[in-house]
């Protein structure tokens, strides 16, 4: 067990070192994230100026601005290109190398993705958050409990996002067009997770569907926890739900990997 942890720790450390070599690329992201937040800040401000009511779909202006800003900050953490990397590994058959090693492919990729996200957290998420906090009227977490729940939820949103990316990346074993699927996934997650606009803004027929899909675990759950919209018991339940989705998708990933391996053997003749 200890050996196992050390092995995956090594994958994580390697990814941190690799990211270090490309640190400029991450740093360039800081102004970009500031710009993303700026556009959405002005859009939401215009929406609330046009609305006769101070509250729309359960959000007042201050809450929605915080929601939109933190949505981008959270994204700067969980986002990675691990889906493209896995798809490329599968397409080129580089996964054969991984099959020869006494290492679990899925856990190794997750350790790498976490290494990248940990690096992003330091060079991109924190500086962007600080800048956004200084420039825009963004509220801090609603309280200690909200802050702690948000922190935990942030980690779980990383796991859920990774597992979705993992599944889409593996699709490269079955289609030449994995890159298209990956981009489609990115677009779908932006909308269906509540990242662009809170779920309560959606039409009445769409909202209940979205609450049953895994995507909201990426944005809707951590963001509403941040805003302190749930009491302690509800927050715990939501975190448990998030963890359940993370585990469920993890299991799905194992199944998918098994069929990928079978498929690779066939291609090998």
């Amino acid at each position: 067990m200890m050996v196992g942890v050390a092995v995956y720790g090594a994958f994580m450390r390697n990814k941190v070192l690799e990211s270090l070599a490309y640190r400029m690329r991450f740093a360039v992201g800081i102004p970009s994230y500031l710009l993303f937040v700026t556009v959405h800040f002005f859009i939401w401000r215009a929406v609330y100026q046009a609305s006769p009511e101070a509250e729309i779909a359960g959000f007042n202006l201050g809450e929605i601005l915080t929601y939109a800003a933190i949505a981008w900050i959270v994204r700067s953490f969980y986002y990675s290109r691990v889906d493209f990397e896995i798809a490329e590994d599968v397409r080129r058959g580089d996964v054969v190398r991984d099959l020869l090693r006494p290492v679990d492919f899925q856990l190794a990729r997750m350790a790498e993705a976490f290494g990248e996200s940990a690096f992003r957290f330091l060079v991109l998420t924190l500086p962007s958050a600080l800048l956004v906090y200084l420039v825009f009227p963004v509220a801090l977490p609603a309280g200690w409990i909200a802050g702690a729940a948000f922190g935990l939820s942030l980690l779980l949103s990383f796991v859920v996002y990774f597992q979705i990316s993992y599944l889409v990346g593996l699709s490269a074993a079955f289609t030449e067009q994995a890159a298209g699927l990956i981009r489609a996934k990115a677009a779908a997650v932006e909308l269906l997770s509540g990242f662009l606009v809170p779920l309560s803004f959606f039409p009445a027929w769409a909202e209940p569907i979205l609450r049953w899909l895994p995507f909201r675990m990426v944005a809707d759950v951590p963001l509403n926890l941040y805003l302190g919209r749930y009491d302690g018991r509800e927050a715990l339940l939501l975190l448990a739900l998030q963890a359940a989705w993370a585990l469920g998708l993890y299991a799905l990933g194992r199944l998918a990997w098994r069929s990928v391996v079978r498929r690779l053997t066939i291609q090998g003749g």
């Binding site: 400029m24 690329r25 740093a27 360039v28 102004p31 970009s32 710009l35 993303f36 700026t38 556009v39 002005f42 859009i43 401000r45 215009a46 929406v47 100026q49 046009a50 609305s51 729309i56 779909a57 030449e176 067009q177 890159a179 298209g180 981009r183 489609a184 677009a187 779908a188 932006e190 909308l191 662009l196 606009v197 803004f201 959606f202 039409p203």
Partner: protein, 264 residues
């Protein structure tokens, strides 16, 4: 001039053949573009279920501006995008510019031709479709003036967009910017997809002068949407486009003059 046109079509034929090899990619590209734009439009549509106007603009009007931007970006995508996305790597670091400079034709024209993507028309088609949809919803009654201005306005927006990014890219002749300057400015250009009236006065002035992204779609669209108060500034779009592009060509020529190829 005749010879330039001849060379243009020779390149176009070759590039079309090359791109036709990847027809399926082309279909997938269209689908993902549709999805991408669909997400943005869904975002706008959801917002407009809560309010009827955004900083003075109705949903179809915002869709028209968004469609205009998509059309201009589609033109950029088919022409300058691939040149600009790896210019520094390809032409400066790998010094492919050496090959270009040995030939008797303008260097900018050559690299422009080499990196055309004639089949990347999805943005153009989608943008035009959105504009038509919005125009029908709005019952726009265009006179001969609007029809005559349509193409010059689109080209003006295209020249603003391409010229700006060509200028940014030409800076690489002086110093190489790791990771590229284009990325953050690309994200800044997203500001041009929405009515500029949503921004504060300082930001709006910035987007109308120093970084004139409001001319990519907003000002020309406002003119085509029949907003009298934007008549003059809308009419200025082609001139602004030409000016921005002229600056880019100027910087490019200065850069070429400094170019000393890779290696020692």
């Amino acid at each position: 001039m005749m010879r330039r046109a001849e060379i243009f079509f020779a390149y176009l034929g070759q590039l079309l053949k090359a791109q036709m090899e990847y027809r399926l990619d082309f279909l997938v590209d269209i689908t993902t573009t549709l999805l991408r734009q669909g997400v943005d439009l869904a975002f706008l549509a959801i917002i407009f279920t809560k309010v009827s106007r955004l900083a003075g603009w109705s949903f179809p009007e915002v869709v028209f501006i968004y469609g205009f931007f998509t059309l201009v970006f589609g033109l950029y995508n088919a022409t300058f995008l691939s040149l600009i996305s790896d210019f520094s790597d390809r032409y400066l670091i790998r010094a492919e510019l050496d090959r270009v400079l040995t030939r008797p034709l303008g260097s900018l024209y050559q690299v422009f031709l080499e990196r055309l993507r004639p089949l990347d028309l999805n943005g153009i088609v989608l943008g035009a479709a959105l504009m038509v949809y919005a125009a029908l919803r709005l019952d726009l009654a265009w006179g001969p003036l609007e029809w005559a201005l349509l193409v010059p306005l689109v080209l003006g927006g295209f020249l603003v967009y391409s010229g700006f990014f060509l200028a940014i890219t030409s800076i690489n002749f002086w110093f190489e910017v790791r990771g590229g300057l284009a990325g953050p400015f690309m994200n800044l250009s997203r500001f041009g997809r929405f009515p500029a009236t949503i921004y504060g006065p300082g930001l709006r002035a910035f987007l109308s002068t120093a970084v004139p992204f409001a001319f990519i779609a907003f000002y020309p669209s406002a003119l085509l949407l029949g907003r009298e108060e934007y008549l003059l500034v809308g009419l200025a779009t082609p001139a602004v486009g030409l000016a921005v592009f002229a600056v880019a060509v100027f910087i490019w020529r200065r850069g070429i003059g400094r170019y000393q190829s890779a290696g020692s």
